[in-house]
Symmetry: C2
Subunit: 318 residues, 2 copies
C-alpha cells in the first residue's frame, strides 16, 4: 500500500446478479473503482445504473465505471480484485468466464454458494490469490437492473485453502466502509462446511416437496428427523475431510430456523421459477466428498438422486 | 354350493371409484348380483349405469342392482361378498364404512393398494373370511359414472393371512367368467410385499420429483440407484417379516419398467390432481414394518419423511 495508495482499488465483478450487484454497490460506496460484466441488462445499467432497493439500508445505485459484455473487454490493465458471483450450475465454465481478465496480481474472490467449489478455480489460476466468500444475505433481482434487498448482508471470507492475507483484509476494509459487516476467517473451508450443514438439508427438501418453506419442512416429526439426518451426515463428511463442526450446531440451526419467519430456500425459488438449481455446489459436492472419504451418507445420496431426477425432467423438452 | 346354487351370488361394492366399477362390471358379467355404494355420482349411475370405456375390451356398463348412499341401506340380508375398494388414505375409517353390511357369512374382499392394510379389517371382523386382492390394472374415473380402462386388469388374491378358500375360488370363478384373469395365491401377503417392492420405490420418487414418469426416474444413474436402494430395503423388510422375495425381482422390475412406455404412478397422478395420496398404505406401513423388524431403511425413511412434508403443506390453508 505504498505506491498504490493514491489510486483507487480496481474491482471487476463477473456475474451481475443480485449478489454481484449488492456487494458491488457496497465496494463502490467503500471507495473502489467497480466495473461489471453483464449481458442482458447492460443497456439498462448503462442508462440508470444498477438500483438496489432496501427497506433497511435505504435505496442505492451502483454506477459501474465500465459496463462490459465480457471480462476480456476490461480496460486499463488487470483488476486488483476479480469478484466471481455467478451461480455454480451445471454446464457453466467459470474459468473461461474470467480467464481473460485475470492478471498476475489479481486476487480472485468467489462469492458463491456451496462446498468444494474453489478447487476448479485454484487449479486454473495456481499463482493467484484466491479469496473464498460466503454471503449471508437475502437479495433478489426483481427486474433488469433492479435488485431488492430483504435481509442480512454479512460476508464471511478468507483465503483458500486457509489463512487471511493483506489482500483479504483490504477487501474487507472496502466492504466495511461500504456498510457491509465482514467476518474474516482463517478457516474459510470449515465455514463453508458449516453453511453446507444447513444448505444441504433444507435446500433439497424444499425442492422435493414442490417448493416448501422452512415451516413446511419442520412441521412434522418425520420432516425434522430427515433434516437432522442430513445435517448429521454433512457433519460426518466435513469431519472426515478435516473440518470439525461443533455438534451443537445442528440444534442451533433447527432452533433458529424455527424461530425465524417461514421462508423458501434459494433452491426452492430457483425451482419454482424454473431456473437452473445449484445442485452440485450445494449437495453434489458434499456427496462426492462423502464417497471419497468413505462416509455413510444414505440421506444425502437420496436427496441428491431425487434432485437429479428433477433436473433430468426439467432438461427434457416439455 | 348346494342350497345356494340356485340363487345369484350377492356382491356389495363399497368404493365406487375406477377399481370398484371396473371389477364390479366384471362380476356382473360373470353372473353376480352386484350392488354399489356410491355418493356423489349415485344419480348419474342410477340413470345411465356405470360406463367402462376400454379400447382393448370394448365398452361395457355396470348396472348395479342396488345403488346406495351407505352400506347400511343394503337390502335383502347381508351380501355374500363385500368388496372394499376405497383408497387407503389418512383419516378414512374403513371399518365404519362397511360395518353395517357385514353379516356372519359375508366374505370381505379388499381390492386395495399397499402392505399391512388388512390387519385393521381383520381385527374388526375376526369371524369373517377376509380375501386380500391386488389389482394390476390401469383404470381411471374420467367423469361421474364413467371409467376409462387403459391397460391390464389381472387380479391377484387369496385369503388373509394365508391360504385359499372355496369362497376365494368361487370369487375367482365369477371374475374369470366376467373376463378377468385371476392369479390365486396361498401367500397373498408375500404377493403384497412383492408389489410393494415396486410401489414403495417408484410412487414416492414420482411425487417428490414433482410428478415424474418412470423414464424421468430411471433416466439418470443416480435415479436408478435410488430406486434400487429403496427396493433392496423393502426386500429386507419383507424378508424380516417372513416374506422372502426373489433377489432377481429387482432387476426384473427395473428392466420391465424401462421397457414399458413411460408412465406416471398412481401417487403422482393423485399429487398432480391434488387428491389425497396413499402414503401410509404404500410406504408408511413398510417403514413401520422396517422399524418393528429393526431393519436399516434409511431410503424408505427419507422418502416417507419427504412425503409427509408434502402432505403437511397440502393440508395447510393455501
Amino acid at each position: 500500500m505504498t505506491a498504490n495508495q493514491a489510486r483507487q482499488t480496481r474491482v471487476l465483478i463477473v456475474g451481475a446478479g443480485a449478489i454481484g450487484g449488492f456487494y458491488g454497490a457496497a465496494l463502490q460506496r467503500g471507495g473502489a473503482d467497480v466495473s461489471l460484466v453483464c449481458r442482458s441488462e447492460a443497456e439498462v445499467v448503462r442508462q440508470h445504473g444498477y438500483r438496489i432497493e432496501s427497506v433497511r439500508r435505504g435505496d442505492s445505485v451502483l454506477r459501474p465505471n465500465q459496463i462490459l459484455l465480457s471480462a476480456a473487454d476490461y480496460q486499463g490493465g488487470p483488476p486488483d480484485y476479480l469478484v466471481l458471483s455467478v451461480k455454480v450450475v451445471h454446464g457453466l465454465d467459470r474459468v473461461s468466464l474470467i480467464r481473460d481478465a485475470v492478471g498476475p496480481d489479481t486476487a480472485i474472490v468467489l462469492i458463491e454458494n456451496g462446498v468444494e467449489i474453489e478447487s476448479e478455480i485454484a487449479q486454473a489460476f495456481p499463482a493467484n490469490e484466491l479469496i473464498s466468500a460466503l454471503a449471508f444475505v437475502q437479495v433478489s433481482r426483481i427486474a433488469p437492473g433492479v435488485i431488492r434487498h430483504f435481509a442480512f448482508g454479512d460476508l464471511t471470507f478468507g483465503n483458500y485453502p486457509r489463512g487471511l492475507s493483506e489482500r483479504s483484509r483490504h477487501f474487507g476494509a472496502l466492504l466495511e466502509s461500504g456498510g457491509i459487516q465482514c467476518a474474516l476467517t482463517e478457516q474459510v473451508v470449515t465455514a463453508r462446511w458449516a453453511k453446507c450443514l444447513w444448505n444441504a438439508a433444507f435446500n433439497p427438501a424444499s425442492v422435493l416437496g414442490g417448493g416448501l418453506d422452512t415451516e413446511d419442512m419442520l412441521g412434522t416429526p418425520e420432516g425434522e428427523a430427515l433434516v437432522r439426518r442430513a445435517m448429521q451426515e454433512v457433519r460426518a463428511v466435513a469431519d472426515a475431510a478435516g473440518h470439525s463442526l461443533a455438534p451443537e450446531l445442528i440444534d442451533q440451526y433447527i432452533e433458529n430456523t424455527r424461530k425465524a419467519p417461514a421462508y423458501k430456500t434459494s433452491m426452492a425459488l430457483d425451482y419454482l421459477h424454473r431456473r437452473p438449481m445449484e445442485i452440485e455446489a450445494i449437495i453434489g459436492n458434499a456427496v462426492r466428498a462423502g464417497r471419497r472419504e468413505r462416509v455413510d451418507i444414505p440421506t444425502l445420496e437420496n436427496l441428491y438422486a431425487l434432485l437429479k431426477m428433477v433436473e433430468h425432467k426439467a432438461g427434457k423438452p416439455a
